[in-house]
Amino acid sequence: MFDSSLFQNVIEGIFSAAFLASILRVTTPILLPSLGALISDRAGVINIGLEGTMLSAAFTGVVFSSYAREWFEAETAVIIGPWLGLLMGVLIGVLLASLLALFHLRFKANLILSGIALNVLGSAATVALMYELTGDRGNTKGNLNSMRMPFIQLPEFLDEIPVVSFFFRIFDNQSVMTWIAFIAVIVVWFFMYRTPTGMHLRAVGQNPEAAASVGIRVQRTRYLALLLSGVLAGLGGIHMSMGYLTFFQRDMTAGRGFIALATPYLGGGNPIGTGLASLVFGFFEAIATRIGSLEIPSQLPQMVPYIATVMALVIYALQAQLTVRVRTLRSAEGEGFDAAFWKAVQRLSVLHMLLALTAVVGIIISVSMFSTPDGFGGVDTAIPNAAVIAVISVVLIAINLPFIIQVERIGRLPWWYSAGTSILSLWLYAGIFFTLFLLAISDTVGLSDTLTIVGGLALGLVAAIMLWLRLGGQYLMRTRHYAAPAAV
């Protein structure tokens, strides 16, 4: 179907271990501040100053790790330097966050405006100090001899095992910061959902008065949330300047601190979802770098995660409205209320929205194929392909749209309406996913082409059905009960 060289290159490349590894790499500096944004947001004090905090930490890390060469012996400096830089970077992150906390919580300054001030300060102070220290306004290359955070090598024998070797190539030789970032997801999840402080934090964010009335210290919890977000943003900044590079560049975070504000919304407000949302941003950033040729506008894939976030905001808002309606229904029905059924409906509605949303990506791909056919193997192949992709995407949106516009339809129509549309759409995505995955590992296992495609499609169908059932299809099939929710 796709015989154009560049496009094929991109599609096949997406499932190469090297590309997946690069996704992890570019996700790290988005993921860390995203977790910071998540924590602060859930405590009701969203930290807008992440961008400035990251920049300051990145710069501090470079400065201290390069001065470590002068302060310590050569051998110890190599070991201590990066960690000293990390420590000081995190420290500066905490310092800036506490400045924000002081001004917002103590002096009652507007949170958003003081966050903006922090960004301005971070961006300006780093450039000014860099100019003072190095005489250069662009970057510290060549002047400050910074160090790099260590890379983690996995045991070699894993490369010998067939399927494992594919994953080995993804995770081997990643920066320690990448590991820290993904471990941080679990730590933050544990903190938020399994510790009393985390519960207090969520309570404070949801309803500060109620939290205060049961004895939770609102101010202290918010201080903590802001400081934690400073720590995470500091780590993200360190990765920017010391993860792969060894220098600081002015405004090198390039808006990642602002993306981080959006990922919690894309991820549904929990750490796992935030991690996945960061991967989405990382994926499209990696694609944009990969197709960074002049023939295809790299801006298009760069736009995708932002469009996705705006849509996620819409989904989020629609979900909130649905929650209110279900709550009204619960109070109206009292005993007869079927909580599991409504939860299933809510989850399925998210699924429909996600499926329609993903199809928008298809439309963007086809638009870029139409606009620059040369980049996709010439007019003869690109235009028909683009048309096919566009039609499939429009169909996907069209069949899912009825359930997005009116969520009750999921429950009102017979169960197989929702099942049919969502499983069909899911099958397409999952089928492509598994086919490409099998293609990627086929040379280690030895699969024929037919087997790859058939296997991929079969796996895709199984996955689609499983996912639908798991998300709530089972309740939908079992329950005949339905009552229209009362209008709010």
Binding site: D41, R42, A43, G44, V45, I46, I48, F103, H104, R106, F107, K108, A109, N110, L111, I112, L113, S114, I116, A117, V120, L121, A124, V127, A128, Y131, E132, T134, G135, D136, N143, G205, Q206, P208, E209, A212, R217, V218, Q219, R220, R222, G255, F258, L261, A262, Y265, P297, Q299, L300, M303, Y306, T309, V310, L313, V314, Y316, A317, L318, A320, T372
Partner: protein
């Protein structure tokens, strides 16, 4: 108490007089500085237009005083405090101002009439010179001291000159002659005017060192040691202060140094005023939309594309259409997050930040793939045709008829907020959205409209950047200008009549910082540090009461009725004192 029309209370009269005096003196000072005195006014091109714009500056000062009243004092104080802190920052950056006395290229000359002894492996010999550079900036191992060995015979008369290589190098050198055991035989730190005359052109200044006609005591190898003189602490401090003073002079007076520099200030102010108005409108409705950046990009793009496509259309038609379409583009790009916020409750901060990036990427894409001419070496569109640019009102500057556009927008925005139902609703929502809803305000429609109208103004700012200043579309046409607009709106307390003053003020600081960088070599970023401080100080509402309370606590008495009781420390178990921000941060 309501005043009857035509009657002024004593306080109002005082304010009016104060405003008039302030405004007139500002006009006088600015005009005087820009023209370098009023003596030769006629030789200045378009001096009437400059005076006209200066008069507008004066009017903005008057409005600032009349509208903000005693709050104006707080704004002025905040800016002064921020400037003082900025002075400290500048001084800190100039700690090594005296280092220039230890830095620079030098040459050491060894002169003698005597015959050169035949000794191998020497650094210098009679009639030769060696040189280098002391404390080269950013060098990994800077040279701090130079030693050269030479062979001499007993009775040879030598003259040693250590001098800088160029007149403008300020290094202060000293030189010493050492014998084989390291004993100092002769040394010199400075030279006299006669010596400079005698050894021209080798000696450059009195700071250079010379050892004249020294007779060597014995045969052997001698060492010349040249190095920069140590700088006493008092010199270091005075150097730092004088450099900081010079930098701040360039910062605070630079924009008034001639009509050209003045025009940089005014053109920047025009952009900032438009952006400040855009931000003020949304902030009035308590909507933290930062979408001005994206709306600016769309405004610039749409007007630019129109002008590039219809360059032959007469100017009287093209310019208004381009401006209107820029405003429309901004309006629509503001309508989107407005609708998302109003009807779905989507967080406007996040959505506008996302839409900003989408707009910027889209602009970049169109510019790179559609507008950029084939042979262009860098990413920019063709120049606009003359029909599509705003005419300058001052010759050879970018101070254009945009001045009148800005005046119109200021008046329209003021009328909109103060004199129309929609403006009333915007103010109601900003004051208390629950109360507004209760009073029958259609808050959804109003929020949407407020964000859209703000977008229209931001779109005009984009058109001004394209049609007035750059006269073509360039990459990065705005670098986070929307955030500068936030400062302008914030200083003006979101009052459209005050925005012109704060826009001019902030543009003045920005322009001044540029000249500080070029004239005094102090980083432009100082002004952005000042900006951050201004934002923090002006939004910290409790800072004033905080200091007042501390004073009261120190006195040990609390005057009942003059101060609110301090909240329990750390939030306590009491009801937390909430602010706008905490509600904004909560999930929608």
């Amino acid at each position: 108490m309501k005043q009857r029309r035509g009657q002024f209370s004593r306080g109002q009269l005082a304010l009016l007089v104060l405003g008039l005096v302030a405004g007139l003196s500002v006009v006088y000072v600015i005009s005087h500085e820009v023209f370098g005195g009023f003596g030769s006014l006629d030789t200045q091109p378009d001096y009437q237009a400059v005076l006209f714009v200066n008069a507008l500056v004066g009017i903005s000062v008057l409005l600032f005083v009349l509208e903000l009243r005693w709050d104006a004092l707080r704004v002025v104080l905040t800016v002064i405090v921020a400037l003082i802190i900025g002075y400290g920052v500048t001084a800190a950056f100039n700690l090594d101002a005296a280092a220039r006395f230890q830095r620079g290229e030098f040459r050491v000359q060894l002169q003698s009439q005597a015959e050169v002894p035949d000794v191998e492996e020497m650094d210098l010999e009679y009639g030769k010179a060696r040189g280098g550079e002391f404390n080269q900036q950013n060098a990994p191992e800077p040279l701090t001291e130079a030693s050269y060995r030479f062979a001499g015979r007993e009775g040879d008369t030598v003259t040693i000159i250590a001098a800088v290589t160029r007149q403008n190098i300020e290094a202060d050198l000293e030189v010493a002659l050492l014998d084989e055991s390291g004993q100092v035989l002769a040394e010199s730190q400075d030279s006299t005017a006669e010596q400079i005359e005698a050894y021209r052109p080798d000696l450059k200044s009195t700071k250079d060192a010379v050892i004249e006609n020294f007779a060597l005591p014995a045969d052997g190898v001698y060492t010349i040691r040249a190095r920069p003189e140590a700088i006493p602490r008092s010199t270091q401090i005075s150097e730092m202060l004088s450099k900081t003073r010079l930098a701040y002079e360039a910062f605070l007076l630079g924009p008034l140094d001639g009509v050209l520099r003045w025009s940089f200030w005014v053109q920047d102010a025009l952009t900032l005023i438009l952006l400040g108005l855009a931000i003020a409108i949304v902030f009035r409705a308590e909507q933290f939309s930062l979408g001005a950046e994206g709306q600016l990009y769309f405004g610039a793009l749409v007007s630019g594309v129109l002008i590039l496509a219809f360059g032959d259309v007469p100017k009287t038609l093209l310019v208004p259409i381009a401006l209107l379409s820029a405003a429309t583009a901004g309006f629509l790009w503001g309508l989107l997050p407005g609708a998302l916020k109003a009807y779905l409750g989507a967080n406007e901060l996040v959505s506008t930040l996302m839409l900003n990036t989408i707009a910027t990427r889209f602009y970049e894409m169109v510019l790179t793939f559609q507008l950029q001419p084939e042979d262009a070496g860098y990413t920019a569109s063709d120049w606009f045709s003359s029909a599509g640019i705003l005419d300058p009102i001052v010759e050879n500057t970018q101070v254009t008829i945009a001045v009148f556009v800005v005046i119109a927008v200021v008046i329209v925005t003021w009328l909109l907020i103060r004199r129309t139902p929609i403006g009333y609703e915007i103010r109601m929502i900003g004051a208390n959205i629950k109360f507004a809803n209760y009073g029958g305000v259609n808050s959804r429609r109003t929020i949407m409209l407020a964000m859209a109208i703000s977008g229209a103004v931001a779109g005009l700012a984009g058109a001004h950047l394209g049609m007035g200043i750059h006269r073509k579309l360039i990459l990065n046409i705005s670098v986070a200008l929307a955030f500068e607009g936030v400062v302008v709106a914030l200083l003006a307390r979101n009052n459209p009549l005050v925005v012109p003053f704060t826009g001019l003020l902030y543009a003045y600081l920005r322009t001044g910082a540029r000249f500080m960088e070029s004239d005094a070599n102090v980083s432009f970023e100082v002004v952005r540090i000042i900006q951050a401080i201004i934002i923090l100080l002006i939004t910290a509402e409790a800072l004033v009461t905080f200091f007042r309370r501390r004073r009261i606590l120190r006195r040990g008495t609390v005057e009942i009725g003059t101060s609110t009781p301090p909240p329990l420390p750390g939030g306590g178990a009491g009801v937390p004192s909430d602010t706008v921000g905490s509600e904004e941060g909560a999930h929608v």
